[in-house]
């Protein structure tokens, strides 16, 4: 009851009805792809799931697998079991790794979160500063050369960037490790542990961040160019406010808003990029786990990773949606 009272303004508002519908749709798409689609497919699910394996499917094993997956029960009951397991944080059992999918994912997740969030923050800061400075000098040499440089970097996919970083900095210069997130068998603790983590992190983080900066830069630059023309900027100038103050506290403060609404979309780009970067640098996160799941045709593991990545995006979206009023007070709730 108390919760209802606290959230009454959210429950009543039209905006939240819309937002919650989108969340429900997302969950529906997730369930469709994870649960319904494999069961609707023509042909046998078990054969499809295990055909790539180096195993002989005998009649006995076949029946055992049917019961293990609960495929002998009616669809509604299967769905009930699936939802209950999901609610308990159970993403299924991987028959190929002989381990709980949840366990495998939870082991990998912290490394991915480290990469995703640090690159997200770094690229946002760099994108905002470069975008603001560039738009302020519109048409000048700094703006034009930075724009051209960013358009070129923007065209280099994270995959290519990661491969070039690995080849140049790890293999030929030998400055950074070629694989992993930690030096194996070195039970370093304290400061040396942190340094070891950072040393392994720099290249993958650098590659993913560099691939994200142009998108942020272009977004902020365009948004700034539109905001600079607003009358309040002219007013601020007329009042004699210092240039740097107008630039960051007046113009950028407003130009940054579309940047926040797009956080939910940009986090998807970062996750996609991280998937490739981790595979290239053999960084032990969800990306490398996905690569292993693909090579082993480990379907439950792929579904688990899919669920986790969708949930991650949803959580970020919920945070953005809740805090949006703080960022843009003009928004209407009622």
């Amino acid at each position: 009851m108390l919760t209802l009272f606290v959230f009454r303004k959210y429950i009543l508002s039209k905006r939240w009805v819309k937002i919650v519908t989108v969340y429900l749709m997302t969950v529906f798409i997730l369930l469709f792809l994870n649960f319904l689609l494999p069961r609707l497919l023509p042909g046998d699910v078990i054969i499809a799931m295990y055909s790539g394996q180096e195993m002989l499917i005998t009649d006995e094993l076949y029946n055992e697998l049917i019961i293990l997956h609960g495929l002998d029960k009616p669809l509604i009951e299967q769905f009930y079991i699936y939802i209950t397991q999901l609610a308990h944080g159970d993403l299924g059992y991987s028959y190929i790794s002989h381990a709980s999918t949840t366990g495998l994912i939870m082991e990998a997740l912290p490394w991915t979160l480290l990469l995703v969030f640090s690159s997200f923050i770094l690229s946002s800061i760099a994108g905002i500063i470069l975008g603001v400075e560039s738009s302020w000098r519109r048409g000048g040499r700094f703006d034009r050369s930075l724009l051209m440089f960013m358009l070129l970097i923007d065209g280099i996919p994270s995959l290519a960037l990661g491969i070039m970083f690995l080849t140049v900095f790890s293999l030929y210069c030998g400055w950074f490790p070629t694989a992993g997130a930690l030096t194996p068998y070195s039970d370093a603790t304290g400061i040396s542990y942190v340094i070891d983590v950072l040393w392994h992190l720099i290249l993958p983080l650098g590659a993913i961040t560099l691939s994200q900066i142009p998108g942020d830069y272009l977004l902020i630059r365009n948004s700034m160019l539109l905001t600079i023309r607003e009358p309040f900027v002219l007013t601020a100038r007329a009042k004699g406010i210092k240039e740097r103050r107008i630039k960051y506290l007046h113009t950028a403060r407003n130009a940054i808003l579309p940047f926040f609404t797009r956080i939910g979309i940009r986090i998807v780009y970062v996750i996609t990029g991280v998937l490739f970067i981790e595979t290239i640098f053999a960084y032990p996160g969800l990306g490398l786990l996905t690569y292993e799941a693909i090579s082993n045709r480990d379907l439950p593991l792929m579904q688990g990773i899919f669920t986790i990545s969708v949930l991650l995006v949803l959580v970020v979206n919920i945070i953005v949606d809740i805090s949006y009023k703080k960022i843009d007070p003009r928004i209407e709730y009622a």
Binding site: Y23, M148, P157, L159, A160, I265, I294
Partner: protein, 281 residues
């Protein structure tokens, strides 16, 4: 609108350089069977030969001619990209325009699905689809088109809504024009820049996805793809094959995507008059 858009694009140096790079790669891709000196599936040459006059980029670990392989891979990328770009932009346009015209519950449902699709990591969906079905190119082209139409639909819907209230369309309606007539005669031509923008960005996503998925090992390993070439080249990096195997592949992929990025930037600049350079106050 339409003609002015093309004229503006011709004057845009960034856009035209992107277009030229893209056309160059497109010609290479179309005429790959003629240009390629060898059959890319012919493994009768020596293993890991360095570049020479006979083999411009040398050969790979099982004796394929790398230059021929590169051209055929480019062909795969561009074919995949253009197919997805065309299908996704047509789906997006149809859904966006129909949602704006019909309104009501259909509009609400379709646009919520569009919003929800933004929160789904495309790459994971494709990985799952490839695992459920046999990872065929056609299946992946359709699956990718079905999940990336949303941005075009949103743009098309917004523009159709604003066009619907414009005077010339109201005039046409008052003179008895039917809805299909208005859509084809007045609305779709105005949506051309949006279509061009959507097409280029979707081609770009598709080219990236094709290379990425084949790099991760989704496609048949005997097919020709930039991603597969990169994956194999990475395994032989210790033999110093970066300059004739890895980097040409990486650079071709980057050139292709850079050309698309330049074009989409130019279209965006033309599309939004407020960003135009000659408008500086």
């Amino acid at each position: 609108m339409h003609n002015r858009f093309l004229r503006r694009f011709k004057q845009n140096r960034i856009g035209m350089s992107g277009l030229f790079i893209f056309l160059f790669l497109l010609i290479l891709a179309i005429f790959a069977p003629v240009i390629a000196p060898y059959d890319p599936w012919d493994y009768s040459f020596g293993y890991l030969l360095p570049p020479s006059i006979d083999h411009l980029l040398g050969t790979n670990d099982i004796g394929y001619d790398l230059f021929s392989e590169l051209l055929w891979s480019l062909r795969t990328s561009i074919f995949f990209g253009i197919s997805v770009g065309a299908i996704a932009s047509i789906i997006g346009l149809l859904i966006g325009v129909s949602a704006a015209i019909s309104g009501g519950l259909y509009d609400i449902i379709v646009m919520r699905i569009a919003d929800a699709l933004l929160a789904i990591p495309t790459i994971m969906v494709l990985i799952l689809i490839a695992a459920y079905f046999k990872p065929s190119t056609i299946v992946l082209i359709i699956a990718l088109s079905l999940i990336i139409w949303q941005t075009i639909a949103r743009g098309a819907r917004a523009q159709t809504l604003s066009l619907k209230s414009k005077l010339h369309i109201k005039a046409a309606r008052n003179m008895g024009a039917s809805t299909p007539y208005i859509i084809f005669k007045h609305i779709l031509p105005e949506l051309f820049p949006l279509f061009a923008m959507g097409f280029v960005t979707k081609v770009r996503i598709a080219v990236f996805m094709e290379a990425g998925l084949s790099f991760l090992g989704i496609f048949d390993p005997t097919s020709k793809s930039l991603g597969i070439m990169m994956n194999y080249a990475m395994r032989y990096l210790y033999l110093d094959v970066w300059y004739n195997w890895l980097f040409p592949t990486v650079i071709s992929l980057s050139m292709l995507i850079i050309s698309l990025a330049l074009m989409s930037y130019a279209i965006e600049e033309i599309f939004d008059p407020r960003l135009r350079r000659d408008n500086i106050a």
